[in-house]
Symmetry: C2
Subunit: 382 residues, 2 copies
């Protein structure tokens, strides 16, 4: 109760100054449930489920002895065309970093704890544990308690976006940004790289630093190479991090995402489809593709949509549910169950299929796809 009074006073007075968000906006966010209060390890905390003023979706605030504001990771805009966008958007030089296919995680210290926060602002117990296992984060946060490590959790044993990378294997992490608490100010590329090196933390691949005027043809070449080995894309950054970064992805990545979406068409198909297809159109145009290249791209697109859908219909017709199996590495079955509870709290329906050694196989059920396909193959009308 005491802490509630503290928060209320705080909300009326100091929070708006600290966050640079007007108290009316904060009040409105709280009333509409956009800002949610929760308890974390015995202390009150706030989560921003959508943007509120300058506070990004996924912002979390922890009220302990100190008030810790971990801002949401800013949405990176996408460009459909490399030229002339890069020249228009950046000045002087650009840094090209690889964009890898995993899930966005922010790692920060809160009191004497280190936690890993997902994009939308949840503390994921599995991600927190794995981050601490695969990296030595203590020294970094002892020395830099006001910094947030932003990066991608990767590999085949991550429970959100499983993707195989040779250099990652089961699970791994790559840092792409170091940002300040409260302000969300990002560190320039050079400082970031040096700081991560000092603490032996894994940084994303810096492909190179180029003159803005020369970048487009280089990026085209890079994107083709990256795509040809099944990798996702790039993030184009201002080396000083003063201009917001842009992202650009390979055709193979678009196909990968469509393949996933159309494995569960009635859960993801409608939302995923349009933007991926539009990206393909502009990329084919900008790459000035010849007949063969265009045919190859069209085939990849068509197969990415049709094949997984037919496979799922077959599976559901033979009595299966449309489900996605993921593997997590846990010390015991209880830990797997804890993760399941966490998923249930997020509204994801999942069950443990098996537990063997220290691996749990978890099946996420995509109910809408299962139900609709079942209905249509039993004679339901569209």
């Amino acid at each position: 109760m005491e802490s509630k009074v503290v928060i209320e006073n705080f909300l009326d007075k100091k929070l708006q100054e600290l966050l640079h968000v007007k108290v009316e906006k904060l009040d409105h966010g709280i009333k509409t449930g956009i800002i949610k209060f929760f308890e974390f390890h015995g202390f009150p905390a706030m989560q921003f489920k959508k943007d509120v003023g300058v506070m990004e979706t996924g912002t979390v605030i922890y009220f302990r002895n100190k008030i810790e504001v971990i801002r949401g990771f800013p949405k990176i805009r996408r460009t459909l065309m490399l030229s002339p966008t890069i020249k228009n958007h950046f000045k002087g030089k650009i840094a090209l970093e690889e964009k890898m296919n995993g899930y966005n995680v922010r790692i920060a210290s809160i009191g004497d704890e280190i936690i890993a926060i997902t994009r939308r602002g949840y503390v994921c117990p599995y991600t927190t544990k794995k981050a601490l296992e695969i990296m030595n984060l203590k020294d970094f946060f002892n020395d830099n308690p006001d910094l947030v490590i932003c990066g991608e959790m990767l590999g085949t044993e991550n429970p959100y976006v499983a993707h195989y990378y040779e250099e990652i294997g089961d699970i791994g992490f790559r840092v792409f940004d170091i940002r300040k608490k409260v302000s969300n100010e990002p560190m320039p590329i050079k400082e970031k790289t040096e700081l991560l090196e000092k603490y032996n933390l894994p940084v994303v691949r810096l492909i190179g630093i180029y003159e803005v005027n020369e970048a487009s043809p280089i990026i085209k070449k890079v994107i083709k190479e990256i795509g040809s080995v099944g990798r996702e894309g790039i993030v184009i950054k201002d080396p000083s991090m003063e201009v917001p970064p842009l992202k650009y992805t390979s055709s193979e990545a678009h196909a990968d995402e469509l393949r996933y979406a159309f494995t569960y068409p009635f859960d993801f198909g409608r939302d995923f489809f349009f933007s991926r297809v539009i990206r393909e159109g502009f990329q084919a145009f900008e790459m000035k593709e010849n007949k063969e290249e265009l045919e190859k791209r069209a085939r990849r697109l068509g197969e990415a949509i049709l094949y997984p859908m037919v496979d799922t219909i077959k599976n559901v017709a033979s009595g299966d549910t449309a489900g996605e199996d993921l593997i997590i590495d846990v010390d015991n079955e209880e830990e797997a169950e804890d993760f399941l509870h966490y998923l249930h709290d997020l509204g994801v329906f999942a069950v443990i299929l098996k537990f063997e050694g220290n691996k749990a196989v978890i099946r996420k059920i995509h109910q809408s796809t299962t139900d609709k396909i079942t209905n249509y193959i039993n004679g339901g009308l569209y």
Copy 2:
């Protein structure tokens, strides 16, 4: 004014009895603009822009000496699977009619006029004129003033859905239903065919009448044949027309529609896409396609999406607008301008490109596609 009072009395008392729609629903429809009043050739009329009770979208009511209720053409449900849906939905026998690719028109007599009404309930001046030119409708409506002819306007010189059919050429019409005014009751297949024959009016192709239990494999074969010659699909009907009909379309028709939608991706892509792709998935599954057939279908799908989009981006990049040229056959330039005014009233932006002989070339402009592509190729962010 006098006619307004007549209508108001009528609305309160008789209309609800005549239409079997409660007066509250009619009032609500009028207040929200779903039911629109307009004047047609000096007489008041009503148009239903959406369903109101049992009145279908596109219903029009003309208040003359007699009150003429021309019901909207009922939405035909689609099946994604032939088996078991046909067996579940129909009993005894089914009639297979060809579904052709044009636009839905209802023709009726109002007073001493014969008018052609589009799906949404507009009297199209061009369609009305052409319907009267290509068919002898007078005798039919003299003898049957309470019937409505429902059919498809077809050919390359129809201004809404231009599609070439060998047997149609420039313009033609095929009747698929004869329905009663007010009740919308459809005539059984046999009576319909005989009545149309008597008046020498063109009926859609009746492919055959089959036992429900034997229909699925026959329809599969028919759909493949129809698709292989670039035709659209079929409507499956209860010969007595007591059970609502179902429609089912060929893969080539889905590709055609996607090709059109992705010629103007930012105008139509998002809405068109999902359902066409879903149809492809279930059809491929039901047809038990082998590797080669599935590859062919995937390629057709991918090319239908990618190629027109790339072409349109190229065109817009070279300074064109994303526009669709249509040809109409008119007696003079004034008639073309009348049609243009009609389109403008419907909110379609179009211009006359040229007028030569008795043909007018009209360009419909797809503004959203033009604007968005222009923005992205000039460096706008997605």
